[in-house]
Amino acid sequence: MSGPVSVAVQFMAVSRHFEVVRAVDGVSFEIFDGEFFSMLGPSGSGKTTCLRLIAGFDRPTAGRILLHSVDSAGIPPYDRDVNTVFQDYALFPHMTVGDNVGYGLMIRRVPRRERRRRILEMLGLVKLADLIDRRPAQLSGGQRQRVALARALINRPRVLLLDEPLGALDLKLREQMQVELKALQKQVGITFVYVTHDQEEALNMSDRVAVFNQGRLEQIGTPAEIYEHPASPFVADFVGICNVLSADAAEAITGSRGAVLIRPEKIALREPDAVVLEDECSADGRIRDVVYLGATSRYVVELARGGQLTVLRQNMDDAHKTAAAGLGQAVRLLWKRRHAQPLVAGT
């Protein structure tokens, strides 16, 4: 794709205060047209509030929100070209699946035949065409979620908002829906704004991720950028496991100044007499704890110099059988010097 990408949503120094509580505090960012954008953060970080501000259910206390370069102030939700998939799906219990999906069209007085055609088309897209006359109460969680999706997409919004839509589903279904949502977004081509507290989900599906913490935007970037180069201790810790070597330990081991961060999968677990290459750092220690995770194992190694590092290792061979026996074993940890990232203190 070439050419300038237009901006679908722009936050300009937006704040939303509830009396003393600063749900959103001076947030500015852009969401580009056609991208899958995730807002990630713990509960109360302001991500859902931002979503509601885009949808129009809430108004900012300060700042502006532009939707396709138009200031959204004073525009009610029903006049915005934005649709939402709610966390509890919010399906109308007194209407059939077909009437639910066609609600937006019915409001806009689309003729019945045309409406029916588009409802069937949309239900076909989410593979629920044969459930058109059922009631929401008769559907499973995954089916309801897809109805909510169809109901939102049928109106051809320019931006689709999703508020933790996969939270209520079990793991297998969630993973399947993640793949389907991603494919759907590519197929339909509209901007998806996705709110989640599950960092794996965000990394999995998004083109770009915005990490929120206590109403502030900590970092915004591609999943790789967020994970490999976290901009703050919070992001480093929230996204994946992070090892932080304090300034002293870092200086002693790696010779660098200031605290460093190393991701656990970047560390190799070797025998105590392993060779240390030119571009590598090493630390000796003993295995204090082993957790078997199926595909990988997680080792907590107590360093000789004090402190500890967590190491994540693929269970390539029968390592898991000897893992427990590895408790207390002396090991040498090796990692590439470039993988030790200086930690930017605070933001």
Binding site: P77, Y78, N83, A90, F92, P93, R151
Partner: protein, 326 residues
């Protein structure tokens, strides 16, 4: 230390802190039996009210129905206990049908008016009031029910009378002519508000309003806010949201309230007697027929009429989808 002891005692039962009362083995066996047989518990809990409902209530209704198929021998003044439809034939006379029609019309108008008046109140209580205001509103709605029916009735009679405060107020506002014009309306008007159908209507409305407000309020409160937001999100303006989401979901509450107002008005015999004129309502007809006249069959036949009307009403409501949201 006390703290660590408390932590340890979790594993051994409350050995240290206090002595457990010895549980009688028979009580223990009983509670275990009941635990594993939830249906038995249900049966035990339901048996008394079901006996009441089945035996006394349904039994008496059945006895009433039975009576309506007997007839009164005009000559001896005794009830003839043989199956006949003559009593129902009597019911279908012009005068009696007049009574039924009068009562049904009043019940219908009271129901409609109560729904219209109660809905905004219930809506405010459910969606906008919170905490202290809500409690105050609940109190306001229920407070009249704490006082005697007759006290409220006579209070209204005094308010509506020609010498009453309403008349005084209207005259003070120089609107006496308006009140006279209203009272001059044929049928619903009368010599004064306290002796006219209009006055009856006002009193009925006042009496049954709490029974309409509370079910509607309960139904509205159960509507999740996300549904209303969803409607707006999909392009629905407030009036669309009201028509397509709020109203259908509140309808079962309206129907529940209307059952109260309809049936209570159909059966009432006190208000028409006090506020009304000489023309009878169903309740008064039942009272008079079973009293000195001793015409139990006709009284029973009259009593069946409200039941039939309610049955028809509920069937119609169900067919029109009033219970879809349930």
């Amino acid at each position: 230390m006390q703290g660590s002891n408390a932590g340890l005692s979790l594993a051994h039962g409350k050995g240290h802190e206090r002595r457990r009362e010895p549980v009688r083995p028979s009580a223990r066996r009983l509670s275990t039996l009941l635990f594993f047989r939830p249906r038995l518990v249900l049966l035990i809990l339901l048996a008394p009210p079901l006996l009441w409902l089945g035996g006394i209530y349904l039994g008496s209704l059945f006895a009433l129905l039975l009576q309506s198929f007997f007839s009164l021998d005009d000559y001896t003044g005794q009830v003839v206990r043989s199956f006949t439809l003559r009593t129902y034939g009597e019911l279908l006379s012009a005068a009696n049908l007049d009574i039924v029609f009068r009562t049904a019309t009043m019940a219908a108008s009271v129901t409609v008016a109560a729904a219209l008046v109660a809905f905004p109140i219930a809506y405010y209580m459910a969606r906008h009031a919170s905490g202290g205001t809500k409690a105050l509103l609940y109190l306001g709605v229920m407070l009249p029910l704490w006082s005697s029916y007759l006290v409220r009735l006579y209070a209204w009679k005094m308010i509506l009378a020609k010498e009453g405060i309403l008349n005084w107020f209207v005259v003070e506002l120089h609107l006496g002519w308006l009140l006279d014009a209203v009272l001059a309306t044929p049928v619903v008007g009368g010599p004064s508000l306290s002796t006219s159908y209009l006055g009856m209507f006002i009193v009925f409305l006042y009496m049954w309003l709490p029974y309409m407000i509370l079910p509607i309020q309960a139904a509205l409160e159960r509507v999740p806010p996300s549904l209303l937001e969803a409607s707006g999100d999909l392009g629905g303006r407030p009036r669309h949201t009201f028509r397509h989401v709020t109203l259908p979901l509140a309808l079962p509450g309206v129907v529940a309230g209307s059952i109260f107002t309809f049936s209570l008005t159909l059966g009432d015999y006190i208000i028409p007697g006090i506020i009304g004129q000489s023309s009878f309502f169903i309740g008064q007809a039942v009272l008079s027929h079973q009293g000195t006249a001793g015409n139990i069959p006709l009284a029973a036949a009259f009593s069946v009429v409200p039941m039939l009307i309610m049955a028809v009403y509920l069937t119609l409501a169900r067919r029109m989808g009033a219970f879809h949201a349930l």
